[in-house]
């Protein structure tokens, strides 16, 4: 069934060569660090998902349902903080990036393995601080921490801000490590034009991480100082300007959307090639559009501020620049579709997620162009239309790619095959559930329902009920995945070295790989995903 399956597997793998607890906690192996991050971000996803379910249940009825208004405010804040900083930003780069990037380049490890381990503990420390704030009294500011409310809110904003500040350093270290690894640790034959597109996506992401994250860190620290010492930088009473906070916040937080979505696009590119049995259509254009998005992403933060008193000219410029992102994204979408066209398509679960990804990205992207027009945005600003838009493009895309990566690399990481039929059911449930959850929210927003409101008029109830029903489907789908993946870890069929017959470079090592990835020095002799070159099964 699989042409290059069945090649020799290493007996000693990164999973079984040492099994003590300290061999995990003190490891410098990028693969173990990737696995640790995977566990951590999945826990974050679970936590954020629980918060989301509470929100959706509360919104089942127009009046109070299960929680008070104040708890509701805390819930949407904690949902946003958890999902954005604890899950989506590190999800793909820190978990899957750490695992496969060095293998794809034919390297033994990332450039700075000790720093890589430190990034895990910095993440844990930051997440711990954030959780401490959540348990202490939570925060009710929304994940955007807008001043002056965030400097005066009676809730525990300070530990949450500090937690996010600390997590930022974990992100910076990961980015720094990836860039240096790509520059210095490529195996023989790995020319710049052969670098897998997932690595290119991570490289573009890393640049944003290194450049933008410190700006966010500093602005959150300033809000913290403002709360604790009353420094007054964003306080109009002392001559400060609250809008300055918005500029500084979005200077990071807009590019942060691309920190989330670029690695997702990288995953999609790998999966499309593997399951269409074709090399990517337009390698250079996909790599270039990654950098186009990363670049333009730095100059479009003002589209979050069309109603903040920004000049009309400024808004117009930011609007046009934001629309450019759609062009670069469209280049990628056309190339993925062109790759599938005429390919020998094998509709396995990872590819199903790719189809979900393309649909959500297109829908979210086109509504993105709509909200980038200043006149329409004034109508939709701060309504559920925006909520639906960014959930489609940012959450939908990241989740689809995360799940695609999880299934595509599951055999690579753990040497087990997941049950295909159950996963097909889960994938269909999740894609359908996602659409049912957020499509009604577009309509709600267009009808004028503001985001972050506790109550709403009774005639909007049916759409809210629909949305909650979709969320329940999502919860069911995720539970299903959790059950069958945990089951497969123990009882799943052992995987072949290359169960998909993929020509991605990462499959040159065993599944699971040997402790130092390869048992002999790898050499790259063909383009990545070149299915025209017949190749005997091999694993170094």
């Amino acid at each position: 069934m699989n042409p290059s399956a069945g090649s020799s597997q290493p007996d000693i793998t990164y999973l079984n060569h040492e099994t003590t607890v300290s061999s995990w906690l003190l490891t410098r192996d990028h693969k173990r660090i990737g696995v640790m991050f995977l566990v951590l971000v999945i826990l974050a996803l679970l936590l954020g998902g629980v918060f989301a379910m509470v929100l959706r249940i509360e919104l089942l009825t127009p009046g109070p349902t299960i929680i008070s208004a104040m708890t509701y405010n805390r819930m949407f804040t904690l949902h946003g903080v958890t999902m954005v900083w604890l899950f989506m930003i590190p999800a793909i780069p820190s978990a899957f990036g750490n695992f496969v990037l060095p293998i794809m380049l034919g390297a033994k490890d990332v450039a700075f393995p000790r720093l890589n381990l430190a990034s895990v503990y910095i993440y844990v420390a930051g997440a711990g601080l954030t959780l401490f704030g959540m348990l202490w009294s939570g925060a009710d500011t929304g994940w955007t921490f807008y001043t002056p409310y965030s400097t005066t809110s009676p809730t525990a904003v300070a530990p949450i801000l500090l937690g996010v500040f600390v997590i930022g350093f974990s992100t910076i270290i990961t980015g720094l490590n990836f860039i240096t690894t790509v520059h210095t640790l490529r195996a023989p034959g790995m020319h710049w034009s052969r670098i897998p597109l997932f690595v290119w996506a991570l490289y573009g992401t890393s640049i944003i991480q290194v450049v933008a994250t410190p700006v966010l860190g500093m602005v959150l620290l300033l809000v913290c100082f403002e709360r604790v010492f009353g420094v007054g930088l964003f306080d109009p009473a002392r001559g400060g300007d609250p809008v300055l906070f918005q500029h500084m916040f979005w200077f990071y937080s807009h590019p942060a959307v691309y920190i989330m979505v670029l690695p997702a696009m990288g995953v999609i590119t790998e999966v499309v090639c593997a399951f269409s049995r074709k090399n990517i259509f337009g390698y250079k254009m996909i790599a270039a559009s990654t950098f186009g998005i990363a670049f333009v992403g730095f100059f479009s933060w003002g589209h979050h501020m069309f109603v903040s008193g920004q000049s009309t000219f400024g808004s117009g410029v930011f609007g046009v620049l934001s629309m450019l992102v759609a062009i670069f994204t469209a280049i990628k979408i056309f190339n993925w579709v062109a790759t599938m066209y005429g390919g020998s398509i094998d509709l396995k679960v990872p590819l199903l997620y790719v189809l979900g990804f393309i649909f959500l990205l297109m829908f979210g992207g086109m509504t993105g162009v709509a909200v980038a027009t200043t006149s329409l945005d004034v109508h939709w600003h701060d309504t559920y239309f925006i909520v639906a838009h960014f959930h489609y493009i940012m959450v939908g895309a990241v989740l689809m790619a995360f799940l695609a990566a999880l299934h595509y690399w599951w055999p690579k990481m753990f040497g087990r095959v997941y049950p295909e039929r159950w996963s097909f059911l889960a994938a269909s449930t999740i894609i359908f559930g996602f659409i049912v959850t957020f499509l009604p929210q577009f309509l709600l927003g267009n009808l004028g329902m503001p985001r972050r409101y506790y109550q709403y008029p009774a005639e909007l109830q049916w759409l809210n009920v629909l949305s909650t029903a979709g969320a329940s489907l999502l919860a069911f789908g995720f539970s299903l995945i959790a059950v069958y993946l945990l089951w497969s870890l123990r009882y799943g069929e052992a995987s072949a070295a290359n169960p998909w017959g993929s020509k991605g470079y990462e499959w040159h090592s065993g599944s699971p790989p040997a402790p130092h990835n390869f048992t002999e020095a790898p050499r790259f002799e063909r383009e990545v995903h070149d299915y025209t070159v017949p190749e005997a099964p091999r694993a170094y």
Partner: protein, 212 residues
């Protein structure tokens, strides 16, 4: 089929490559450090545009003469750090440690002057935000100037402390013979960090002390 040894057995393959990786990593880190200060510089630009006269008046409360001494100390210390890199490339470990110690002494002198200046502001009431007690300047603008002053110089001082720790570690390494003419990457990248901290001061000094 493991092979005995190959250049790939070493994590970096070669010393040159390791040096290249360490330098690239440090440059990227320095880039992110620059962005860390950017918010404060942007904030300075915005509020100086809002309150030009107050900023000029507030600047007169600072000891510009002593800041010039500080600047000279830091620039000279950078020269000594550059000498340290020069000497360790020739394998002269004792001389390396010596010039690094001189640079550290200058850094400590810088922080001493800074501390004295802070103490003066404390007694005068030229403090950030709600602790601001200066009466000859309007609160709007005046408190912002001193907020930015303390944030910029404070963040710089924290970086100075880290850089001093780094140089101390390098001195210890040089004395114990860890660094040689062949292996001296830590001295090079540690030196880079020291230079960056100096460069920050070269921007902070005119912006805060030389306002006309």
């Amino acid at each position: 089929m493991p092979t005995e040894t190959s250049p790939w057995e070493e994590h970096f393959g070669s010393r040159e490559n390791q040096s290249k990786a360490a330098q690239l990593g440090m440059w990227l880190f320095l880039g992110s450090e620059v962005l860390l200060f950017t918010n404060l510089f942007v904030g300075y630009g915005v509020y100086r545009y809002y309150y030009p006269e107050v900023f000029v008046e507030a600047s007169k409360h600072l000891a510009a003469g002593w800041a010039t001494v500080q600047t000279l100390l830091l620039v000279t210390s950078s020269l000594f750090v550059a000498l340290a890199v020069h000497y360790i490339r020739q394998g002269r470990q004792f001389l390396t440690a010596l010039v690094l110690l001189v640079a550290m002494g200058m850094g400590v002198g810088f922080l001493g002057i800074k501390g004295w200046e802070y103490w003066k502001h404390w007694t005068e009431g030229a403090l950030p935000g709600e602790y601001y007690r200066l009466e000859d300047l309007p609160v709007q603008g005046g408190s912002l100037f001193f907020t930015l002053y303390f944030l910029l110089t404070g963040l710089h001082a924290v970086h100075m402390l880290v850089a001093l720790g780094l140089l101390g570690w390098l001195v210890w390494g040089a004395v114990s013979g860890k660094y040689t003419a062949e292996y001296h990457i830590p001295v090079e990248v540690g030196g880079l960090y020291w230079h960056l901290v100096d460069v920050f001061w070269l921007f902070i000094y005119p912006l805060l002390y030389l306002v006309e």
